[in-house]
């Protein structure tokens, strides 16, 4: 019983993190039809930016109000989105809309390579640490185990992010417009929707979510070069399982991968590396386009 509870708690903590890092990827794919490999770089840049910003915050006397460091984390993600979002989308990606999806993957791969070195030029290779926010929330005791309160804050953040994205898409006017663009951008354009602006907005939202993932992760790791490579693979898997472009899909995918991985670590640790591919293979076997894929109409 206690083992089941542990697996669930561990699985959900991991799922929360997975969801935050993958929801932006699926959103960008849904709207722009671009599978963004540079999502991993944006994650890493978010981590670096938050490490720098939180560092600055404490250097400027933030010790008095340590809670402010959380604001600094989020602010870092906002900054990344504000700077890199327009730069990448307006400056580069918009020239590739309507081109082959796979070609666009290569374009973002090039961006990924470039950003890897740019990060090194800005932040060097030495690690950055920002543990303060990680320990602020104290411990939580569940059965025989201690958890860090921050872990649950990540689950909370994932739920907030998920709800915010879902409500924006389904309950606001702008969201309906975005859904229309996802459905048929040409049609929307003829109906007077400013499609380029929607694209820019969606990409910035995606960049923000990627950076937020990095920013929220930064306190529990050391921020070092090469951070983004591993994230991109798991985020891809989650998004493919859930169905490219589907927000609820990303949530279900994250929970499936999170719980299966936790079960594997506790029960069959040898299989950990495979579990994510295993879940992906099973899902694709029965639902080739992912669990919640948008259906693609055939022409006739």
């Amino acid at each position: 019983m206690d083992l089941v509870a542990t697996i669930l708690v561990d699985g959900l903590i991991y799922a929360g993190w997975l969801f935050i890092v993958s929801v932006g990827l699926t959103l960008v794919f849904g709207v722009l039809n671009i599978l963004n490999i540079a999502h991993g770089s944006l994650y890493a840049i978010g981590a670096y930016a938050s490490a720098s910003l939180v560092g600055l915050y404490f250097a400027a006397g933030g010790d008095a109000v340590p809670w402010g460091s959380y604001a600094a984390l989020i602010l870092a993600a906002v900054l990344v989105a504000l700077v890199l979002g327009p730069l990448l989308e307006r400056g580069l990606l918009r020239f590739f809309y309507g081109r082959d999806e796979v070609l666009n993957v290569l374009v973002t791969y090039a961006v990924f390579l470039i950003l890897e070195d740019v990060m090194k030029l800005i932040w060097g290779v030495n690690p950055y640490f920002v543990y303060e926010p990680y320990t602020l929330l104290g411990d939580v005791e569940i059965g025989p185990l201690f958890y860090v309160g921050y872990d649950f804050a990540v689950i909370g953040a994932a739920i907030v992010v998920g709800l915010a994205v879902w409500l924006t898409l389904n309950r606001t006017k702008i969201g309906k417009i975005v859904l229309a663009v996802i459905h048929d951008s040409e049609m929307s354009e003829t109906m007077g929707v400013n499609v380029p602006r929607i694209y820019l907005g969606a990409f910035m939202a995606g960049a923000f979510l990627a950076a937020l993932g990095g920013a929220l992760t930064a306190p529990m790791i050391s921020v070092t070069p090469g951070l983004g490579v591993n994230v991109i693979i798991v985020a891809f898997a989650v998004v493919i399982i859930g169905g490219l472009g589907s927000v609820p899909g990303a949530a279900i995918g994250a929970v499936m991968v999170g719980i299966s991985r936790a079960a594997s670590v506790h029960l069959v640790p040898e299989a950990e590396l495979f579990i994510i591919y295993f879940v992906m293979a099973i899902v694709l076997l029965f639902r080739p386009e992912g669990l919640f894929a948008k259906t693609q109409a055939r022409k006739i």
Binding site: L3, T6, V9, D10, G11, I13, Y14, W17, E116, D117, K120, V125, N126, P127, F129, Y131, Y134, T135, D139, P144, L145, F146, Y147, V148, D151, T217, M220, I221, S222, V223, T224, P225, G226, L227, V229, N230, V231, R261, A262, V265, H266, P269, E270, E272, L273
Partner: protein
Amino acid sequence: MKSTRMGGALAALTVAAGLAGPAAAQDDTFKIGVITFLSGQAAESFGVPAWNGGKLLVEMLNEGGKMPAPYDTKGFGGLNIEVVVVDEAGGATKQVQEFRNLVQREEVDAVVGYVSSGDCLAIPPVADELKAFTILYDCGTPRVFEDGSFEYVFRTAAHATMDNVSLARYLKSRNFDVPSFAGLNQDYAWGQDSWADFTGSMAQLFPDAEVKTALFPKFGAGQYGTEISALLRERAAVVHSSNWGGDLQGFLIQATARGLHERSQLALAAGDHVIPQLQDKMPDGVILGARGVNGLAAKARGGELQELTDTLWDAYEAEYGVFPVQAPFRMWQALLGLKTAVEKAMADNGGTKPTDEQLAAAMKGLEWDAPSGHIEMALADGHQAIQPNAIGTTKWNAEEGRMELVDVEYFDARCVNPPEGMKAQEWLAQGFPGAKCD
């Protein structure tokens, strides 16, 4: 015609390739190709500090007289040292290509490099094929000289078996009670081999200890929450990890926040290099090694190597604002070994720049002093070094604001390395025959 035009393009490329490439080194310079991680995860922990140390040493040698004897002569036997640096990131395929480029295009006189054991396995056959003198300075896998023998390839650092044997011996000699142990290692050859070595050593020294869970999170995973839960539940007396770099730092931050270090004794095979970054976030009482008498353990050792150690230590600290950890020590021992070999070869050949053959002959079975101790090319017919090792326990010195290693145990090279002619795994399985521990 498309074929002729593409053919023209091919021909142009061919000619361009023929013309490209700088000229060979002059007779009064000794050109080395250095390969180490400048990007990716290993850059921060190994590649960059190693080359920071290497660059410093090369500058000091080229100036001459900066180092204590016997390293006070200029350059390598009077030859000016010139360096070409290549990034090791990108995999073994790329490294084989770059190696050929260094040797055949850049015409370097020696290659010093390789942190990744995959690269260390891929390079030696090529080095022998090209008859290019090559020093492997860092990588750990014993397979290099156990699976093959090479004429022109030398490894100037002990292989990784030593790290885990030393850990087990430390636990034994300091009378730890180890009814059970568990492990968390990165899921690739390094982590898998380290865990095998550690369990092998423990089976000899603590035959009654129960082996609990062995976790292998993905390399670069970053998130260890689930693994830490599993380790907390297991309540093993000792938790072993050979993680390095960001993976080790992330694991330690998350593990200490959840009190794993209070439930289990942490034993880190290669953990010293994260001390400068973690500082007081590294908990007290962690047992760790530095893959040799490197870093803090070398500084604390004293003895006749103190001057050599201090010279490089102080220069490094002054230049980079941080004390040197294991990686620069291994680079130093490689370069000082190379210097010794070059000068020995020059003494034999009448003072001209040695050929690859002469260098290989000089390097074989060589012994020299480095800040990390006395290095002997004692294994694999004089191609594989053994060196002493040290394990210590962390203790934060709050007054001076720095981490110290206490209860350091120094192990003789022959105590923790297998004897000549015996494979590491056999040596472990047979209970360390021929080990000389004083």
